[in-house]
Amino acid sequence: MRFDFTPEESDFRRKLSAFLDGALPADWHGPADESRDDHWALNQQIKKGLADRGWFVMSWPTEYGGADSSPMMNTIFAEEMAYRRAPGHDRFGTRMLGPTLMRFGSDSQRAEHLGAIARGEVQWCQGYSEPNSGSDLASLQTRAVLDGDNFIVNGAKIWTSLAHRADMMFMLVRTDPDAAPHKGISLLLVDMKTPGIQVLPIINMAGVHSFNQVVFDDVRVPQANLVGDLNDGWRVGMTVLNFERSGIDYAAWARAALEELVDYVKNDDSLVSTVKTNPEVRGKLASLNTEIEAARLLCYDVAWRQGQGEVPSAEASISKVAGTEIYAKVLDYGTELLGMYGALEPGSEQAELQGNFLKMRLFATSGPILAGTNEIQKNIIAQRGLNLPRAPRR
């Protein structure tokens, strides 16, 4: 066992951090709001900067323009980007669809999409959840019917992050309504400019347009855009989700927030600095520091196992639960510690710490819900990790 980083890993973290020093505005506090044009422009700029330095798809094999970097390096990349609340880490293209196409895509799909993803030129979004299919994803109802060389797609996707900025969507559709739920699903690649697609904004509880409902009305998708075999989309699409389930972003966001809070408490000019000597406050901040470090180690554990060739499923779920929970806890405590100021919205007169703690706390509500609710994660931990028997299916 050892708990330090290799010189190569530390060096990479330093270089990435130095790049972000230059790329982010001097007064950057984040979080990025991609519905704002200035933040979206920053997103594009950083993507390009990352691509120029060979970091954007460094997790990919060299034959696709990557650096075949280790899972630990990829974790450090994600961690550092999240720690700085930097936009431009494109999970949908680089972490989800890219690896899926490498494994299941046709030669022409790979040729068409992988290069564009690697150069940071195209924004993908993920069309999985539907109004009536959340945790029970396999019940999805959006239909795709083959008509000559095209699928005709009808239905609706929801909670689609960045659909309003996306060029392309990878989506799960039902192609055989008579088969068992998992057996009649396929994965399609869809150009968001195709006629019949309507993107309806959804404003989240933090007041930000971060996701959307996407309605499909007789949308024609070329048959060549089917990834993998017809009706094999569940298997193909789950590869995507394996890349989605990690707590590292949350652990890093939590660490950034706690450091901000500690700096604020320590600063003599802070309006609430009198709390610094309160043993209860000191104890609580120390406790949060401990939980964050635990979550961080759990994520490194996942990366280490991946590096050993394992597919750590329960461990990934553990890291997601631990990360999302501690992030919300830090923000809860931050808003509490700021006292009456904790209730001031961003942009308010007299807001402390930009009103960010309130905004981030409201945003963090989504952590335990998205990418598989924490209840689902706990089922995975119990059943795959501890080998407890599954509940009998009705």
Partner: protein
């Protein structure tokens, strides 16, 4: 980052599991908890035979020279089986000797520690039960030949098996001294057995003009306080590691029980309410395990990480007893019985929440390290 075991660590784990399964089963644990000192002494003799007290003693002084990280692998197994042996106590006092002691004292004691002829146990808590390195329950007068110690050290583990106690004393020149005090059949030393929930032998020691030669002084002044603080940190990480092993064992046995126990025609472990209890236990166990091993690893380097040590015990103190209570809930009525072994684990977890400092104590240390 490497979460895997080295070849040496694998060997330690395998041999520890074999030995402990054979020799430290529930009957042994219960006998020692019931105060059977002979069973405890015999078990320790076998452990000495295996060379465990020598593991982390430097090669120069007759030990195996392994790292604290290697020791942590063993401590985890000792925790998982509740083994009532003073491996941790011996290793942490030896480490303090090694790091702070004079060469002559090290040359005298360390080889004997490695051989099991000398066992030194930490005795730095007074009546106020404080682990603060500036607090001690003993005073000492300096004489030409050494220190004459009077006072009380409470909550001393394995004092009945130990030959010496490592004690912080307040000297008459208003200084601190850390000193190795002979306690085995020493005139002036009285041992009061406590009935401690850990199920291990715990004593209070009263010192009535007990003599310790000058050569037994490990450190004085601020150096002594630093040594005491490091002793507490080292002990807290040892306890956190043992508690991590304990937690793993409780998770495993609760999984086994709930997967087998049938109600409503299906295993109770197939109910989501029970599965979520277990998932949360598994998360807590893993968190403490990682924090404890990360802390232990920092002791393998020069010195140790104050932050990592504090975090390990904060998490262990806050999570493991709760994990045990949840295990009781999952076991239902059978886990409420004296006959079932679960309460042995719960008692140990409860008792060690405070041993070598509780969560609040270590949070204060971490808060200072965070610059607060």
């Amino acid at each position: 980052m490497d979460f895997g075991l080295t070849q040496t660590q694998k060997l330690i784990r395998t041999s520890a599991r074999e030995f402990l399964a054979d020799r430290s089963g529930p009957a042994t644990v219960r006998a020692v908890a019931d105060g059977d000192t002979e069973v405890a002494a015999n078990l320790w003799m076998d452990v000495v035979e295996l060379g465990w007290p020598a593991l982390t003693v430097s090669e120069q002084h007759g030990g195996a020279g392994l790292s604290f990280s290697d020791l942590a692998v063993l401590l985890e197994e000792l925790g998982a089986t509740l083994a009532p042996v003073p491996v941790a106590e011996s290793a942490i006092t030896a480490r303090i000797l090694e790091r702070f002691g004079q060469d002559a004292l090290k040359a005298e004691l360390l080889p004997q520690i490695a051989d099991g002829d000398v066992l030194i146990t930490p005795a730095i808590v007074g009546r106020d039960a404080s682990w603060d390195a500036h607090n001690t329950g003993t005073v000492a007068n300096r004489t030409g030949s050494g220190l004459v110690i009077t006072g009380e050290a409470r909550f001393v583990s394995f004092a009945n098996q130990a030959t010496h106690a490592l004690t912080l004393v307040n000297t008459d020149d208003d200084q601190f001294a850390m000193v190795v005090v002979p306690i085995w059949k020493s005139p002036g030393v009285e041992q009061i057995p406590l009935n401690h929930a850990s199920g291990t032998p715990v004593y209070s020691l009263t010192f009535n003009e007990v003599e310790a030669p000058t050569s037994n002084i490990v450190a004085t002044g601020t150096e002594a306080v630093a040594a005491a603080a490091e002793l507490v940190a080292t002990g807290s990480v040892a306890r956190a590691t043992q508690l991590a092993g304990l937690a793993r064992a409780v998770v495993d046995s609760t999984v086994e029980y709930t997967a087998g126990r049938q109600q409503f025609g299906r295993p109770v472990g197939s109910f989501q309410a029970v599965q979520h209890h277990l998932a949360e236990m598994a998360i807590a166990a893993k968190q403490v395990n990682h924090l404890a091993h990360a802390a232990a690893w920092s002791f393998s380097q020069d010195g140790y990480s104050v932050d990592r040590a504090a975090r390990a015990k904060i998490a262990a103190s806050e999570k493991i007893a709760d994990l045990c209570w949840t295990a009781h809930q999952c076991h239902g009525a059978i886990g409420f019985t004296w006959e079932h072994n679960l309460h042995l684990y719960t008692r140990r977890a409860l008792a060690w929440k405070t041993d070598f400092g509780d969560a609040a104590f270590h949070k204060a240390i971490l808060a200072s390290a965070m610059g607060l």
